[in-house]
Symmetry: C2
Subunit: 358 residues, 2 copies
Amino acid sequence: MVSRRNQSVTVIDVAREAGVSKSSAARVLSGRGSASPATQRRVTEAAQRLGYRPNALARAMVSGSSHTIAAVIPDVANAFFSATLRGLTDAARSAGFEVIVSNTDNDADVEARSLELLAEKRADGFVVAPVFQDAPEAITRLVEDGTPVVLLDRRMPALADLPLVSVDHVGASRLATEYLIELGHRRIAIVTEAPDRLTDLRELPPDAEISSLRPSTQRLLGYVQALDDHGVELDQDLVLESDYDAGSARAAVSAALDAGLGFTALYCTDAIVTLGAYNAVADHQVAVPDDISFIGFDDQEWTTLVRPSITVIDQPRHELGSAAATRLLAQLRDIDPDERDLRLPAHLIPRESTAPPR
Amino acid sequence: MVSRRNQSVTVIDVAREAGVSKSSAARVLSGRGSASPATQRRVTEAAQRLGYRPNALARAMVSGSSHTIAAVIPDVANAFFSATLRGLTDAARSAGFEVIVSNTDNDADVEARSLELLAEKRADGFVVAPVFQDAPEAITRLVEDGTPVVLLDRRMPALADLPLVSVDHVGASRLATEYLIELGHRRIAIVTEAPDRLTDLRELPPDAEISSLRPSTQRLLGYVQALDDHGVELDQDLVLESDYDAGSARAAVSAALDAGLGFTALYCTDAIVTLGAYNAVADHQVAVPDDISFIGFDDQEWTTLVRPSITVIDQPRHELGSAAATRLLAQLRDIDPDERDLRLPAHLIPRESTAPPR
DNA sequence: GTGAAAGCGCTAACAG
DNA sequence: CTGTTAGCGCTTTCAC
């Protein structure tokens, strides 16, 4: 039981032990090239005996591939991203890749530094959920250098050329809104954290550009589209604007409730906003779904625990990550995908919080 | 905007551009060794001009350190581990390290393969939340080879020599149990997923070994200790055994409720078990805290959303991760820690689900 | 202070 | 099939 026994066992050691040349040993150890059965056996056994462990660093140096992909995301501790990361690592592993994670906290500088660092470590490719900014130079630099980059969940106009794997946010909102409309609702409020003004949205951007809007904006757009399609009038007062935090959403919904806007349904476009909105509804002791139907975003654990349980829009998080990884790996193998972008459908999970209006 | 521009810019290129020798360039680029201000400037500018990006792989090869640590955990998508991973990456980053993650799903083979793979990539050290098994050879092999390993959250007897960073599980349960006792409860039920028989626990193992018991067992032990300390009789019937899944916990608690065991408080020793138990209590329309006081485990989001809100035992997840990283990094720098193990205290967050018995 | 040269562990021609 | 040689990009003696 020698300390640091293997820290040093190299192909040369194995070759010596097996009584063959360095290259013969290397050949059988790497599985490339041919070797006689005898050599094969002797080398394998020698390696076994010595406890040889190939040095992936050295391999990467010469092969040019580290078999590592980088995931640059806002926060692993966030349920959405942790589930996505899981999908990512699963797909990566089955292709023989490992993943190295970095959190940005939506800070552009941190993102830039992470990207640079991971590029130095020679990650073969990047999956990044980028920080919203005008000039994501760190990303464009990677791309210019020929490093494959797949965008996850979001994309800005400056990155319009890059492949994007995301949920169909517009479709997700249409799903929710139409479900409510079909139940008979006409006055449907939406809680949104989209920073964009609603008026801008009425002049629908061409389809190509929609995917470069923020997810929150796309979700708002889906709501507008669904209303339009079904001839339901859009009431600006029912668009409840919130910041990206529960307290703000709670306040917005609370105010709307106090204002007596007379809406019969409430659709929340984001997990955190759902939380705040739910609290406001609980505070006001509104009867759900009798007085108000409620649709939340993301199939969070608590949505099945509260009474009534909450109807939600569920995003395929795991699949999102695995799709991103798969997409990236294809690019690494120079396989051209059919479509540049991949847009996964969200699903509606009907529960007790939605019903026809009274 | 040449494609793959940097994929190739090396120290040699920079040296040429700066009109100095390779080693001079390397010296200023790496920051080691000395160079005249003039050289310094020329090299720096040349590097800047060319968009030089150091190859960390090559650096690692010669320096012997990849500045990467491996996190081998059951599942990133699990809230506990994702929060812990966040702490881990935060601490790692501030020390200039990156982390590469691997999920084991509590499968020994997967764990062994991950460990091997990451060792091949020459991770400088490992933080692992090991799969419970008798002979974790993959781990011991690493240790024998001199690779620093820090255990996270759990440890088996076979790994008793390795440093462990964990929550004080025994203390966590004492906290919960004593809180209930002090409220006046005497018939306190516990929902446990500990596989160990309670009888074994009465013969308290020496302190050193306690930390090598499973977390669930330690939590059960804390409950027993607290009862003993306060002279409250332990009733075997109030130890509700469950598998590690919500359905099982729900069934166990449901059965206990039906059996009319007359307990006035219920303490759940794990997040998933809390979920099941909560459902059972809701099913039976037990009044909380009037009929039964309820303490859950882990400060999950939903515990503040349901009515009444749930009193919980909160584990310092983020801190757990950062402590593990810090511990590992210290070991990498050959710093001997004061204590081999690190045991972080859990906290009780009092909410509405607990009150004196009626 | 600076350059030449060796070497980290491995793979990939290239002869033999 | 096998051994010799060169080289991936970088750091590090070691003379000058």
